[in-house]
């Protein structure tokens, strides 16, 4: 049995859907029909959307993307561990641990404030330049170190905000139950805090995935560098578009997953 109100709401919904579909259709049509009418479209199409070059370079780009994935894969656990350590250092309460708090604050200020590219150059060329022998001067090692320094500073701040968002009553309750400071953090605060900042950390992962490409400045031939090589050999920008497609295949699902987690978290709390 539909009430008059329910019927009215259904009508309104249908109307909204029709309008949304209509305006999307018009926008798409404008894009598809108007852009090719631009006088330079043919030149732009052959420079950026060249099917033949796309097909020719795609397999090599995909192979180069494996390097991005590898660097990403070994960076993430180190970033997570170091980020947590720094966050805990900044949150240390005992007076004796004051030096730790200072260290955490300086670490975050320093590495969050320096552009990643500069850090990649500085650490990637600078530290091996001190005279390290092979294989310890590898750009893979020191490039990873640069990424870890920057991203652990970000992650530490995210985790700290999570820890501070847990209500003081939780800590008080844990102390009343006789839990030590350490156990309070480990069994009461952290499980809640980490869960709360999962969406923010997913954003960090997406950003890291893209910033791995910065390592190409110091030598490794990852996907963006491989695309740049093709660009200069073929004098065509299509390989960059192909690289963007590959990046999107990874980052879009990751962002959607982050959205899903965020919604689930919100639903659970309301």
């Amino acid at each position: 049995m539909t009430t008059r109100r329910a019927a009215y709401e259904a009508r309104q919904r249908r109307r909204a859907n029709l309008l949304a579909a209509g305006s999307t259709g018009v926008a798409l049509a404008l894009l598809v029909f108007l852009v090719p009418l631009a006088p330079g479209w043919d030149a732009v199409r052959s420079s950026f959307f060249n099917g033949e070059i796309f097909a020719r370079t795609f397999p090599d780009l995909l192979k180069a993307f494996l390097i991005n994935i590898a660097i990403f894969a070994w960076s993430v656990p180190i970033i997570a561990a170091l980020g947590l350590a720094i966050a805990l250092a900044r949150g240390a309460r005992a007076p004796v641990l004051f030096p730790l708090r200072i260290f955490g604050a300086i670490y975050v200020d320093l590495f969050r404030g320096i552009p990643v590219v500069l850090l990649v150059y500085l650490v990637g060329f600078g530290i091996p330049g001190l005279g390290l022998p092979r294989p310890w001067n590898s750009p893979y090692i020191w490039g990873t170190v640069a990424l870890v320094l920057t991203y652990s500073a970000y992650v530490a701040e995210v985790l700290r905000s999570g820890i501070e968002s847990i209500h003081a009553s939780q800590r008080n309750a844990a102390i009343c139950l006789g839990l030590s400071e350490r156990d309070t953090m480990r069994y009461v605060i952290l499980p809640q805090a980490i869960r709360r900042v999962v969406p923010a950390n997913m954003n960090m992962l997406v950003a890291l995935q893209k910033d791995v490409a910065l390592l190409s400045f110091i030598g490794p031939v990852e996907i963006l560098r491989q695309a740049g090589i093709f660009k200069s050999l073929l004098a065509n920008f299509t390989p960059y578009v192909a690289a963007a497609v590959i990046f999107l295949c990874v980052t879009v699902p990751a962002t959607r997953y982050a959205d899903y987690l965020m919604n689930r978290d919100r639903d659970a709390r309301t």
């Binding site: 330079g40 052959s46 950026f48 060329f125 600078g126 091996p128 330049g129 001067n137 073929l234 004098a235």
Partner: protein
């Protein structure tokens, strides 16, 4: 030597102004002016002191000689700066000619126009004194065992991969400065440049740089040839090619090469 060259160019300017006045007429960006692009910065020995207006350096000298052949007086030549990417982007270009050691390749030729080559560049290997002391020699076997670095926007990578076939995959950098940084940091042993660039980099940018050897350009299947880059379908191409042909026939081009790129002798050939 230099006076003869200047005299040659002056004569060419004088005769050229009459003979070829129509060829480039109405085909340049700005009527009566030839706009030439170079790199930012432009390096020795191609352009001396990053000042192409001074006519000093191989490409600066060739540019003015071409301009003179086409009937442009020296003060009718304007310089602009572009990166490699700006030179190949699909939109309108801000230059008539772009000269910054562009190697002519078939793939590039489909997107832009190239003049006839004005220089055939031997490829040369730069390494460090330490690597030579450790036993690096200008032989293929020795080169294969080295860790290579190349600049991404050059044709060096295919040469390394196809001719040298190194045991470890090469590292790739944005520019010569990063190659020198990586070599100082011990991350690479060797880098491939055109010979004049290798000589400059080893002598000026590196503290411990050495040019190990050069590849015989006449033995290469596709020798690395530099051409002036023009927008695709440029009406000017014919005039530039005529000018270059005239400069080659008269020996003026060889004279410019001898003046600016003479250091090239004395570097051993790679066997």
């Amino acid at each position: 030597m230099k006076t003869i060259l200047t005299a040659t160019i002056l004569t060419l300017t004088a005769t050229g102004a009459f003979a070829d006045a129509h060829c480039a007429a109405g085909k340049t960006l700005t009527e009566g002016t030839l706009t030439i692009a170079t790199g930012n910065p432009a390096y020795y020995p191609w352009v001396i002191d990053d000042a192409p207006e001074g006519k000093q350096g191989f490409e600066a000298a060739v540019a003015y000689a071409i301009a003179a052949e086409m009937g442009f007086a020296d003060d009718a030549v304007t310089w602009v700066r572009t990166s490699f990417d700006e030179a190949i982007q699909p939109g309108a270009k801000n230059f008539d000619l772009n000269m910054q050691q562009f190697s002519i390749t078939d793939d590039r030729d489909r997107v832009v126009d190239f003049s006839a080559p004005y220089y055939t560049a031997p490829q040369a290997v730069m390494t460090t004194i330490e690597a030579v002391e450790a036993g690096a020699r200008p032989t293929m076997d020795s080169l294969r065992a080295m860790k290579w670095g190349v600049v991404a926007s050059t044709t060096a990578l295919p040469v390394v991969m196809e001719r040298i076939k190194p045991d470890q995959s090469p590292l790739v950098y944005d520019d010569n400065a990063n190659i020198t940084a990586a070599m100082q940091a011990g991350q690479i042993d060797a880098a491939l440049f055109d010979l004049p660039t290798a000589l400059f980099t080893a002598a000026v940018l590196m503290d411990n740089g050495v040019v190990l050897g050069q590849f015989d350009p006449s033995a290469a299947q596709n020798p690395d040839q530099f051409g002036a880059l023009m927008p695709e379908g440029s009406a000017l191409k014919e005039c530039v090619d005529q000018a270059l042909a005239a400069l080659t026939d008269s020996g003026a081009l060889a004279a410019i090469e001898a003046e600016w790129l003479q250091d090239a002798v004395g570097v051993p050939l790679i066997k």
